[in-house]
Amino acid sequence: MTKEERIKKLVVGAGAVFTLLFCLSPFFYMILTALSRHTDFLRPETHYVVTFSHIHTVLTSQSIHFPAHLRNSVVVSLASAGVAVFTASLAAYAVTRLAFPLKTFFMLFVLALSMFPEISLVGYLFTIMSGLGWINTLQTLVFPYVAWTLPLCLWILVSYFSQIPEDLDRAGLMDGCSRFGVLRKIIFPVAAPGVFSTGLLAFIVAFNEFLFALMLTTDHSARTVPVGIALFQGLHGETPWGEIMAAATVTTIPVVLVALIFQRRIMRGLTRGAVKA
């Protein structure tokens, strides 16, 4: 047995190293490039020189509009996460506590809709948004993002809410609350960690979304970071990798930090959301 155990230890060790390298190397490569004066620093003849000029350019340049993209992304993601969590909470409360017809049908409806490909929506969504005159505004993204993140939020919140004993609801009703009052004053506070995790996940999903943003926005007044970085081409044919990676770094470091800090919560939320299906 010990020989097997030794092999296992070796394999696990190698696997752990592999996993670390796998997950971290592109990320570090991005940071290294952002801080390097020369993009081709891997070439033996090029030295690695640290510079913050790329980051500086990206944050201050008037033509790249990176801060505008960042602002748009944050605003849109916050707004859609907020609305999505609120909407999903209402529905999750109803699903876990109230009797209404067609409940199973509704859950299947949500599940089915969550599997629709984005490309099958975006064409007509563009038509709708043009009709409303909303192309290239922030709300043109918030509404679709809410709808897009709702199924995930619903699954996760249903699993959190169903763990709160219904006696608490009854106590609240006896104490004079309306159903909505029970949700607001009792369920929300008690489920606060779960609600927070859901919001976090919704924020990240909205933040990272690409196709809707690509089609529904046209310039920096509403464009989000993923689109900004994707379209970042540089002016003279030479791709400004330094700046691109700088923008990428500035974008991803906060998100990664948040993900790492709340990793337990996020993982729990993700697995609840996925395994539920």
Binding site: R170, L173, P189
Partner: protein, 365 residues
Amino acid sequence: MNITFDSCAKRFVTRKGEFEAIRGIDLEVEEGEFLVILGPSGCGKSTLLNLAAGLEKLSRGEIRFGGEVMDSPEKRLFVPARDRNVAMVFQSYALYPHLNVFRNISFPLEVARKDKAKRSKTVIEVAGLLNISGILEHKPGELSGGQRQRVAIARALVRKPRAFLLDEPLSNLDVQLRVETRTELKRLQRKLSITTLYVTHDQTEAMTLGDRIALLKDGMLVQLGTPRQMYDAPGTPFAASFIGSPPMNLFPAAVRRAAIASGGTTLGLPPERAKVLERMRKERVLVGIRPEHLAVRREGERGLLEGVVKVVEPLGREDLLRVDTAFGELAALSSEGRFEADQKVWLSIEAQRIHFFELESSSWS
């Protein structure tokens, strides 16, 4: 405030079909009365309480508080829980885990938008009444079971409700605490004179706490009476065996003139009991006698029932003896404490305490 249940019925629709939890109950709870709703699991007692609370809706019938209709499907009237001004204590206490004791108790007042000073005053008053003034800062998670229960009661009383509904509030406490709290509850209710509906499956609680007991089985009211009445004059074998601990001995016997017989043995009856037996006009009856009304003697005498001790269960201040007799195995209580298994004994029956029931109705009135 009195509570009236008028021909009340409640039907639930589950995945497996329909289920009648309450089948037709008429009950009048008097103002200031402590009424215990007693019954085995599934008899509908919690449902009845929820109906009174407004957490459930009647399928048929009417519920009135002091004459005012709270729930009537026929009249399409339903007053929801939040508007009934009654309070409930749950078996799980259902304290709000995110609030400390003070805020738990003041919660109903906050919902009712009472001003802060008044809220504070009332909460402190009620906390004093229940001896929990010292734990107002704590959160429910930090409290013992007994403390949590008091907080639940305080929260219920803080709005000065017109009725007080309790759903098996003592089941989660350990036995010692249960006895103490029982007494306190009774004292509290007396002091406040508040109409109280108390649900339990524990007949001891029912007997010690209730002004009257409503015994339920399978969604119907089997018997209603004071504890004394329930004990002395159970109307059905079910009531007879449910009330009183240890449970009443119930055994079939053949009817003879002024006597009952089984397995070759005849037991004579005093004239008054004989008359009751005759009036029943049956050949066989179900006989009931409580263990406490069977005295165990070491020596035989005429008129005593012979038997052999099978099991001795010491209960502390007395022993429960299971005695094999011609009428089957009977339970008897003895404080002599000197009996052993396989010992031959003679049982002296308090004849006035013999009950007779019809044999066919094994569980129904």
